[in-house]
């Protein structure tokens, strides 16, 4: 539901069209499938957070057609994306590339997981020595236990 108004903002021209219109579809199913896959990674620039595959904005349509043109022209997926970045900047990619500026973004999840794992691991290790279960009961404790367990207590 978060996208509801996003659409509204995207379509200031108030002409809601649905994504991927019949006239855009490529004849070759394999190429069309590639185009659909690529489209989910390309941002509709005037929308809030929609891919061109989802968006109904006119710009998204232009980009979908452009992606298909590049595919028909024989570009690989990477070449299509590079082409789009050269034209529109990194902002067009919904999956940021691994660059110096984005390194933190990609490393952070693994980093946090490792840190969490280490903390848990060391917490276990440092406290293993003090496990009270391994200490035998004292004489007094045995007495107390016997008293508790004896049926006539």
């Amino acid at each position: 539901m978060k996208k509801l108004l996003l659409i509204f903002l995207a379509c200031l021209f108030l002409t809601p069209v649905l994504a991927v219109e019949p006239d855009e579809v490529l004849a070759d199913p394999a190429m069309e499938a590639r185009a659909r896959d690529l489209s989910t990674e390309v941002r509709c620039m005037v929308c809030q957070n929609q891919s061109i595959d989802d968006s109904d904005a006119p710009l998204a349509k232009d980009l979908r057609v452009l992606v298909r043109e590049r595919i028909v022209a024989g570009d690989t997926n990477d070449e299509v994306l590079t082409f789009l970045v050269a034209r529109y900047g990194e902002f067009v990619l919904l999956k940021p590339r691994f660059t110096l500026a984005n390194a933190f973004l990609w490393i952070a999840p693994i980093g946090v997981l490792l840190i969490g794992g280490f903390i848990a691991f060391f917490a276990f290790r440092s406290r293993r020595g003090q496990n009270p279960e391994e200490k035998p009961l004292t004489e007094a404790e045995h007495e107390a236990l016997k008293k508790i367990l004896s049926p006539d207590a």
């Binding site: 108030l14 002409t15 989910t40």
Partner: protein, 660 residues
């Protein structure tokens, strides 16, 4: 007049909540019982005044009093009654009032039902709630006054955003806020514990029902929002990794972790410091979510109006509570004593794994959501972080969590035996394998991921059931005994099973719709047909129609399967006159847990229209699973253990159970 009274009530609430924030706090420091008791009465008073303010605004909406600017901006005299009512919170000012209202509701509930809390703890908790209420009441009165007047009063209002004119607005925001804001109680308990330096298993027992309540509403609120998006948006997506969705998902992930770590603390007196930290982080995420949505940093359907001064104000509230909470934690956490020792392979160990994975996942979502904002602020460079990023990072973190989930409840406290658990789960593993092979055999589209997804779902659902089966000793004791044992099991065990199985059901829906969805799109004239997954859809015709505040073009689609009519779908394109705002309404027919979903695109000049049909297999399981999770929460809440102060059972529990 009524609006002015509402405004006065709001100001009185603000004044009273200042008292609530200060007097009990001082009283708790001095051990003054009368000052501490002020907490309860002021909390109730603040709640009553905020409710009056809310009632006043509601009245203005119901009678369409357009001399109130907020009503003029967001309502219309022709709007259906339900939407006049729900429109109260379909805008920035009203939704903030709802936020504060729910906050004060929780404070009032703590005041009413917290009689068995130690006086000092209760006073501190209510004071912290008072602090939160005061800052947010200040925010409402200073930057977002819903009672502002207009002169001269306009004759007609500007209507509510048509997308919000839906039953979803009646359910989604209140549920979500009950969840978001409900975590404030856990936060206040954590801060109170840090102030007093005392924390024990009893503390965890008091916190757990509140956390569970908040979690349950947040679960249902998010799920409801997702279903609303699904049917309203017109392309049938159910989760978009949109920043605003993430804003509600982060408190859910942290809250889920908190729920589990509080169990360890209650049962074993361990993970105390961590639980306190999680309580602070969870509510911090609620505040961050409020900031992201309400400040205008992000533009979305939820940001009804952006005003930079509001953003700065909420940012200050955010810094006060998150910064203050974490600073207090850093200062005082050392004074809390750790307790409870356990081996890595144990129930505690499983819950630690749950916590590590959930908090990592939550942090990933947090970083993905904030990174573009931070990068742009620091370097001016604009990047996008969208669904492909989250699927790639969040997904792999969930995988081990889901696989490990059935093990957790089987492991013994302190030290568990993994091999023995594996033996008890062997039949579930076999079932999962059957699921895998069956999916491979029957699937209509070649997919490797889907059979494994189905196997994981089977593993989760039956793994959860296996715990009940095992604890009731089915197949080991006579059937009758097993059944009486089953119903004698603690409600919290039932809750765990329901929630964990719900996760499996949701996963099944996700796998089904992500892998096997099919779509057909074409320009059609009346009389034309479309074929999709064995259905023949005929466009019978297009007719105009009108509702109370809109006109629409409805397409009548007849769906046949093997010659017989199985459904009639009526997707439409609407135009809401007041805002000249078009929307698309989907036509949906449910078959079991699957749905056929139709929407309309543009009309052409030759009388044709773009028709789009989706076949969405098992899609309903996504939300049915969340209902199971919610039900698990409800059942667990009714557990006697959590009804603190409930008298002990008179007769020994479930007499039929033989002594062990």
């Amino acid at each position: 007049m009524i609006s002015e009274l509402g405004h006065v009530a709001l100001l009185l609430a603000l004044a009273l909540s200042c008292v609530q924030a200060l007097v009990p706090l001082v009283g708790a420091q001095r051990g003054d019982a009368r000052m501490m008791a002020v907490g309860s009465s002021t909390a109730l008073g603040v709640f009553v005044f905020v409710s009056l303010a809310f009632a006043a605004l509601t009245y203005a909406y119901l009678v369409s009093d357009f001399s109130v600017r907020n009503v003029w901006e967001n309502s219309h005299s022709q709007k259906p009654f339900l939407f006049k009512f729900t429109g109260v919170w379909g805008n920035h000012e009203g939704s903030m009032l709802l936020w504060v209202g729910i906050l004060t509701l929780f404070s009032a509930l703590v005041a009413l039902f917290g009689n068995n809390l130690p006086a000092q703890l209760k006073a501190n908790v209510l004071a912290i709630q008072g602090w939160i209420a005061t800052t947010f009441l200040l925010f409402v009165t200073l930057t977002s006054n819903p009672f502002e007047r207009l002169f001269p009063a306009p004759f007609e209002g500007r209507d509510l955003n048509p997308i919000l004119q839906d039953i979803g607005l009646a359910i989604h925001p209140p549920m979500l806020y009950l969840g978001y804001v409900g975590f404030s109680v856990a936060f206040s308990f954590a801060i109170a514990a840090l102030i007093s330096g005392r924390i024990d298993a009893a503390w965890a027992r008091w916190v757990r029902p509140w956390t569970l309540t908040a979690w349950l509403f947040l679960t249902l609120g998010i799920s409801m929002g997702s279903y609303w998006a699904y049917y309203e948006l017109g392309w049938g997506g159910w989760w978009f990794w949109d920043p605003v969705e993430n804003a509600s998902f982060m408190p859910w992930l942290f809250g889920t972790a908190l729920l589990h770590s509080a169990v360890v603390m209650e049962k074993r007196n361990a993970l105390k410091i961590w639980t306190i930290l999680l309580a602070i982080l969870t509510f911090s995420m609620s505040l961050l979510g409020t900031f992201l949505v309400r400040s205008g940093v992000l533009t979305s359907v939820h940001t009804f109006a952006s005003d930079p001064s509001r953003g700065v104000f909420i940012l200050m509230i955010l810094l006060l509570f998150i910064g203050g909470g974490l600073a207090l934690f850093a200062l005082r956490a050392g004074t809390l004593k750790q307790g409870g020792i356990f081996a890595p392979i144990s129930r505690e160990g499983a819950l630690v794994l749950n916590n590590v994975l959930l908090t990592t996942a939550a942090t990933t979502v947090l970083i993905g959501t904030l990174y573009p904002l931070a990068l742009e602020a620091l370097t001016g460079e604009k990047i996008s972080v969208g669904p492909p990023y989250f699927n790639l990072t969040f997904g792999p973190l969930m995988l081990p969590l889901l696989l490990a989930m059935p093990f957790g409840p089987f492991l013994a406290w302190k030290r568990g035996d993994l091999k023995a658990v594996m033996q008890r789960l062997s039949w579930v593993l076999a079932l999962a394998f059957v699921g895998l092979l069956t999916t491979f055999a029957v699937q209509t589209k070649t997919s490797i991921a889907a059979p494994f997804g189905v196997a994981a779902a089977v593993w989760l659902i039956f793994g959860a059931l296996a715990e009940l089966v095992d604890r009731a000793r089915f197949f080991r004791v006579p059937l009758k005994t097993a059944f009486s044992r089953l119903f004698g099991l603690p409600r919290s065990a039932w809750g765990t099973t329901l929630a964990h199985a719900g996760m499996g059901i949701t996963l099944l829906g996700i796998v089904g719709v992500s892998v096997y969805e099919r779509e057909a799109v074409a320009v059609k004239q009346p009389g034309d047909t479309i074929e999709l997954s064995g259905y023949t859809v005929t466009l019978e015709g297009i007719r105009p129609n009108s509702g109370p505040n809109y006109t629409e073009q409805v397409a009548d689609l007849t769906v046949r399967r093997g010659g017989t009519v199985v459904a009639v779908l009526s997707p439409s394109k609407r135009l809401y006159q007041a805002r000249n705002f078009p929307t698309t309404e989907a036509g949906i027919k449910t078959f079991g847990a699957s749905q056929l979903y139709a929407t309309l695109g543009d009309f052409d000049d030759k009388g044709g229209v773009v028709v789009r049909i989706y076949d969405k297999p098992l899609v309903l399981f996504i939300w049915i699973g969340t209902l199971f999770m919610g039900a698990g929460g409800v059942v667990s809440l009714t557990d006697r253990r959590l009804r603190v102060g409930a008298p002990k059972r008179a007769k020994p529990h479930a007499a039929a159970v033989p002594a062990e």
